[in-house]
């Protein structure tokens, strides 16, 4: 039935037959079916609608097209995984997770020279759309069918641009502050000067908060060429946060005028003293507030939240802004020796805090990070951020050490699981020991976060370590609430090993 027919019939029904007795007419052969002249207009309208409605569905004229079909995919790729038991396991993993296991399954499949079953491609692509960490592994296992399919879905376009660094000026011109910052960081890698010029042009129009975020991009490949911009910001930016960040970045440039001024302020504070034929290094803060220090962002009065004397406060700030390498050069001590020395001085707190801040702000060598972490001066949150700068073996040690000062087991576990380190059996056993100890405590009762972390944790464990089962504390007071999570943990481990077995994987 045509649109005007329905429009006319609808109008009649909307207004009511009491007002519009006229009905549109049906084609002749249908009209005969619908009409019974004797009946009331209401019945005639209903009958007309019934006949027209039925005629419409029975006589549906489907659309057709002359267009050629879109280019099909290669008909039957050889490498598609067809083993029903592997397919079944891949489907289970896709629906039950955890995410890391999806990535692992794809890696194993790709390593075995196979690709994902066609039917599962959408599920794996969707997961990769939600989590960028899955993109690489999923793409490696997607095969030729996956490449063909992903080009058809707007959300799966990441597959098309994979491998190419997405550096597109539109991100800068149209993006939000996060994507603009990412753009700057990417550009810093290839053309640091151009990135700084873009930043300089935009800063005046940005809010203080966005200025801080964008300026952070200069950390990538920071060089003396950035000094004048930073110095300008330090002297004239309206926002204290921007000035502080500029000062931090300048301190990471040892040859900058700023860094030299700081060294000049620190130098008279760290001196030698002869005592019984031996030379000792001693430290003493400036006696009065250095005249030009304020313009370098040093505050005269400590903020209310910091309970220290003024002189200690000055020393801490100067230490924090002086290039950390100055210390070893000036005193000839190693970072570890320096930290041990600082801990024995009268100005212990100010010095250690200052050094720790300097280490946090500047890209420093592992020896300093190691020394600072060992000194236990940093709050665990900040210590955790430094660990990545250590050597692999020291990282594992540092993480284990951090566990005791961590605010909670799950806080620590989450970071350890994310850390880019290889877990060896010894490391897993140490982690396991901490979890088991935690399960004996009362805090375990409401630790839902830990329960949720366990399956993901199972993906982190080296396969070699999985031969001996975890000695779960089944007698612990709150064990019953963990049973299910422990089961999922075990199941994940088991799926990992089955997948390897079925794919004859050596990984």
């Amino acid at each position: 039935m045509s649109a005007p027919f329905w429009k006319q019939l609808s109008t009649a029904a909307l207004l009511g037959t009491a007002r519009t007795p006229a009905l549109p007419s049906l084609p002749q052969d249908l009209q005969d079916l619908a009409l019974d002249e004797s009946s009331a207009p209401e019945a005639r309208l209903l009958r007309t609608a019934a006949v027209a409605g039925l005629a419409q569905i029975a006589g549906l004229q489907p659309a057709s097209t002359e267009e050629t079909l879109p280019e099909p995919a290669a008909p039957s790729p050889q490498d598609v995984c067809r083993d029903p038991q592997v397919v079944s396991l891949l489907a289970q993993i896709a629906t039950e997770g955890p995410e890391t296991l999806l990535a692992e399954a794809c890696q194993l499949l790709a390593a075995a020279g196979q690709s994902l079953p066609h039917r599962l491609l959408p599920t794996y692509f969707d997961a990769a759309y939600r989590s960028s960490a899955l993109r690489d592994p999923v793409l490696k296992a997607a095969g030729s069918r996956g490449a063909w399919l992903s080009a058809k879905n707007r959300e799966w376009r990441f597959a098309a641009t994979a491998g190419i660094d997405e550096i597109d000026i539109r991100q800068w011109e149209e993006g939000d502050v996060a994507s603009r910052t990412r753009y700057l960081q990417a550009l810093r890698q290839t053309d640091a000067d151009r990135a700084r010029e873009l930043l300089e042009k935009t800063l005046a129009q940005e809010s203080a908060r966005d200025r801080v975020t964008l300026l952070g991009a200069l950390r990538t490949r920071l060089s003396p060429a950035d000094e004048s911009l930073l110095q300008n910001l330090l002297t004239s930016d309206r926002s204290k946060e921007v000035r502080t960040l500029a000062a931090r970045l300048l301190s990471a440039l040892p040859q900058s005028a700023f860094a030299l001024r700081m060294q000049a302020r620190l130098q008279p504070c760290v001196t030698t003293e002869k005592k019984l034929f031996r030379t000792h290094w001693v430290v003493a803060p400036p006696q009065s507030f250095p005249t030009d220090a304020a313009q370098d962002g040093i505050e005269e009065k400590p903020p209310g939240s910091v309970r220290v004397g003024e002189r200690a406060w000055w020393l801490r700030q100067i230490t924090a802004r002086t290039p950390i390498a100055w210390w070893t050069a000036h005193t000839g001590m190693t970072p570890m020796e320096l930290v041990l020395w600082a801990a024995k001085t009268e100005w212990k707190d100010a010095l250690l805090q200052g050094l720790a801040e300097a280490v946090t702000l500047q890209d420093t060598d592992p020896a300093w990070i190691h020394a600072i972490i060992n000194a236990d001066v940093l709050p665990p949150q900040e210590a955790a951020e430094l660990i990545g700068g250590l050597d692999a073996k020291d990282q594992r040690e540092a993480w284990l050490k951090l566990a005791s000062s961590a605010p909670s087991l799950t806080w620590w576990l989450r970071l350890v699981m994310k850390a880019p380190i290889t877990w060896d059996t010894a490391f897993w056993l140490a982690v396991e020991k901490r979890i088991i100890a935690h399960l004996h405590t009362d805090a375990a009762q409401y630790d839902y976060e830990l329960r949720n972390l366990l399956p993901e944790l199972a993906c982190r464990i080296p396969m070699a370590a999985t031969s001996s089962p975890t000695p779960w504390p089944t007698g612990a007071k709150h064990w019953s609430s963990f049973e299910d999570a422990a089961h999922r943990f075990q199941q994940t481990l088991e799926r990992r090993s089955r997948l390897r077995r079925m794919l004859n994987s050596k990984l």
Partner: protein, 462 residues
């Protein structure tokens, strides 16, 4: 080493049997040989003892024919997690089940299932138990008809009134405007009309074409009332069709005496579930190997999605079907539980193109104007995806080799269109679906030369 695979199901099919996602998860959780002190199987069945929380392990058994489940656990879900777990084990880890003779408790159960099936078939063969008193039956029918006709008058009066004064005010009406009328249809012994009348209340939200849709819906009601007026003069098959849409159940004995019976190997081609106020409806589409006939098995389950006879898409069951009398027979009953179950290799019969499907549908509609769903097994179609821009739902179509386009139901295609496209790779394949009067095809399954049969199903959330 070639592993013997006695189980006619895939893991995916086992998943589809579960009443909800929680059962799948729990069942999966039991696929660990350590949880099963004993585990065994033969060609017909699998059995095992599963350590539960009690001291005595649960005895779980699965008859592959059907399949049938039995477990000594107290769960009210069906199949329970132990049954699912056992079947998952049999499918995914056949090596962990020891092949051999079933223990007594299994043998006894299997025997009783076979006996029951035979007895049931024999009972139907023998016809109704006691010859019913024709006079009493006629009296009962007359009484019900007169009650229903009262309801018909009530509804007709209401519709006439609406049309006379116009439906322009519908968008402002509270739900009560329709609800009490809908509820009265149940009192008038026409429960089938309740849903149809309530559907009117949602019309004003259907976009600008809502008055036309409301009219079509009222027109559908109008023809039923008209037919009811002439009930006695209708042929028996059409009477039966009318009874179906009014909700006047045609009972099994009537079906057994009046309907057609066909024994065949039936391919379970597709399944669709719908829930309305905690009542689950399951529509299963079958196709006969020799007869080539299509059949619809309709089941209901209250509360959760647990149906007495599991029917698994992608299997072939051997059984006798009893067709409901109808001018366009589709709906049928399983006369007895399946006598054997095997995996489906490919659909037995297909429709060559869209034009043929629509012709068949129009012919069926000509015979039974109240037909709602119609099965489609379309060969050689290519799924097409049309991106209508960001934030717009995609459009999904099937294109046959004539270039004719058939729209897919947006909801089912939204969930499974990409899977269909991935399987096809842009090449023609066979699509199984449910064509409806709304003019879209609900996607149920597909068959592809290399990929085999693939059902699109969703497990109900817990």
């Amino acid at each position: 080493m070639m592993q013997k695979m006695p189980v006619p199901f895939s893991a995916e099919q086992v998943t589809a049997l579960a009443p909800d996602t929680a059962s799948v998860k729990a069942g999966r959780g039991l696929t660990n040989p350590a949880k099963w002190p004993t585990l065994g199987c033969n060609d017909e069945a699998a059995w095992g003892e599963c350590q539960g929380s009690g001291s005595k392990p649960y005895q779980t058994q699965v008859d592959f024919t059907g399949p049938g489940f039995k477990c000594s656990c107290p769960s009210r879900k069906f199949p329970c997690k132990h049954g699912l777990g056992l079947l998952f084990m049999a499918v995914d880890r056949p090596g962990s089940l020891k092949e051999g003779e079933p223990p007594d408790w299994v043998a006894a159960w299997l025997q009783s299932r076979r006996d029951k099936a035979e007895k049931k078939a024999a009972a139907v063969e023998a016809g109704p138990k006691a010859p019913t008193d024709p006079e009493a039956t006629a009296k009962r029918v007359a009484k019900r008809l007169s009650r229903m006709r009262e309801g018909a008058e009530d509804l007709e009066r209401w519709m006439t009134d609406q049309i006379r004064h116009g439906i322009a005010a519908w968008p402002q009406q509270p739900r009560a405007h329709w609800q009490s009328l809908a509820a009265r249809m149940v009192d008038y012994q026409m429960p089938g009309l309740e849903k149809e009348v309530s559907a009117l209340s949602g019309m004003p939200y259907q976009g600008e074409r809502w008055p036309a849709m409301a009219l079509i819906q009222m027109g559908r009601l109008h023809t039923r009332l008209e037919a009811l007026r002439r009930f006695e003069s209708l042929e028996l098959p059409l009477q039966s069709d009318l009874r179906t849409v009014l909700g006047w159940a045609v009972d099994k004995e009537e079906v057994a005496t009046a309907g057609e019976r066909i024994t065949d190997d039936w391919a379970v081609l597709g399944q669709e579930f719908e829930e309305r106020e905690r009542l689950w409806e399951r529509r299963t589409w079958l196709q006969g190997r020799q007869s080539g006939r299509m059949a619809l098995i309709l089941d209901f389950s209250h509360g959760n999605r647990a149906f007495e006879i599991p029917l698994v898409p992608g299997t072939v069951i051997q059984t006798e079907l009893l067709y409901y009398p109808s001018a366009s027979p589709l709906r049928a009953l399983l006369n007895a539980p399946p006598a054997s179950t095997s995996p489906l290799q490919r659909p037995f019969k297909t429709t060559p193109d869209v034009a043929t499907l629509l012709q068949d549908y129009a012919a069926a509609l000509g015979a039974n104007p109240w037909l709602t769903q119609y099965p489609a097994v379309l060969a050689q179609v290519v799924p097409l995806h049309r991106d209508l821009g960001p934030d717009q739902p995609s459009q999904w179509l099937l294109r046959d080799n004539q270039g004719t386009l058939l729209p897919l139901h947006p909801f089912t295609a939204g969930r499974h269109g990409w899977e269909l496209l991935a399987i096809s790779g842009g090449h023609p394949l066979t699509v199984i679906g449910e064509w409806s009067s709304a003019g879209t095809l609900k996607l149920l399954a597909c068959w592809h030369e290399e990929e085999g049969f693939c059902a699109f199903q969703e497990t109900a959330p817990a």
